[in-house]
């Protein structure tokens, strides 16, 4: 068998997920500053863990499968960590301030591509 022997487990997990959705929504209306996003992600991760462990049966799965899932999540965390770390510590920002972007986009809209200054050698 690849399922819980007691089927009420699924209902209980579902109710937990509904409750956690309520938590997500109510916390979103409280101003926690930068913590809002982090708390929302923490709650979402808890919900994801419940889905993985019980609905997807990771709790009863082979070690190989569990190891694979942990590796994939770890890879995504490396990606996020590396990318955000880079972004936070850049001296020269890759992104222009929004005003500049807006100005150049407006410019593009008004003048079209033909209005762009010619590149060298064109």
């Amino acid at each position: 068998m690849h399922v819980a022997t007691d089927l009420s487990l699924y209902r209980n997990i579902f109710l937990c997920l509904v409750a956690l959705t309520g938590v997500t929504v109510s916390i979103a209306f409280v101003d926690l500053g930068p913590w809002n996003v982090l708390v929302a992600l923490a709650v979402a991760s808890t919900k994801a863990l419940l889905v993985l462990l019980y609905f997807m049966g990771l709790r009863w799965a082979d070690r190989l499968i569990r190891f694979g899932v942990v590796s994939a999540v770890f890879a995504v965390l490396i990606l996020l960590g590396g990318v955000l770390n880079d972004d936070f510590h850049r001296q020269i920002k890759r992104f222009q301030p929004v005003q500049e972007i807006r100005a150049s986009l407006e410019d593009l809209r008004v003048r079209g591509l033909d209005g762009l200054p010619a590149r060298e050698g064109d």
Partner: protein
């Protein structure tokens, strides 16, 4: 070995257990690539969010958290019925199996219906990136960027759901025919893994898209 087990056992496998293990591993590897696929887009989203947090919060408030929240509940419900369908495939008759699968399909269709309604609203409110995009904001270009992510992420998610509903329809027909029992239920369990994964993606999309600027 029961008659149905032997008829489902492909010749390259020693026994049903090994055959299931192979299918399971293959499905999980596919899902791991999906985690990294969505992870990559979420990383891009994260960069723009930390760069333009204020504007993204403002843009996020154009979305209806009530609709998103309701859809979250619908999708969680469909995951519940899917889990019961997998259990039914192993321990219940064909009628019960088909019932849980069809219940999952109906909830999936409900989700897509609400999503379509939301999309229609976005078209009406000129929030679809492109020529007609228009918001009364100083940073309209950045809001447009937010909506590009919104449509990319929810669109990819919806495509996954359409595929999932197709799979479940096929499985419901097979369940009704009596294809699945204690000795063979691999397709239902694999479709279940896929369906739960789609639910899992939405669990992250909902707070990241709908709830950014509510505080």
């Amino acid at each position: 070995m029961s008659a149905s087990e032997s008829s489902h056992l492909e010749h390259q496998f020693d026994d049903a257990e090994q055959q299931f293990g192979a299918a399971n591993l293959g499905m999980w590897i596919f899902l791991l690539t999906e985690i990294m696929f969505f992870g990559g887009i979420l990383a891009a989203y994260a960069i723009y969010f930390v760069t333009f947090a204020d504007v993204f919060e403002e843009a996020s408030n154009h979305l209806s958290w009530e609709m998103g929240g309701f859809n979250t509940l619908v999708l969680l419900g469909s995951s519940f019925t899917m889990a019961r369908a997998v259990a039914a495939a192993q321990s219940q008759g064909r009628a019960a199996q088909a019932r849980w699968l069809i219940g999952t399909i109906l909830l999936g269709l409900a989700f897509l219906g609400i999503k379509a309604w939301e999309y229609a609203g976005k078209f009406e409110d000129q929030l679809v990136p492109g020529r007609n995009f228009s918001v009364a904001s100083e940073f309209a270009a950045v809001e447009e960027l937010f909506f590009s992510f919104y449509f990319l992420l929810t669109g990819l998610h919806a495509i996954h759901m359409v595929i999932g509903i197709g799979l479940l329809g096929y499985l419901a027909a097979r369940a009704r025919r009596g294809d699945f029992d204690r000795s063979y239920f691999t397709p239902v369990e694999m479709a279940g893994l896929y369906w739960h994964f789609v639910d899992l993606v939405w669990i992250f999309l909902f707070p990241m898209l709908y709830l950014l600027g509510r505080h």
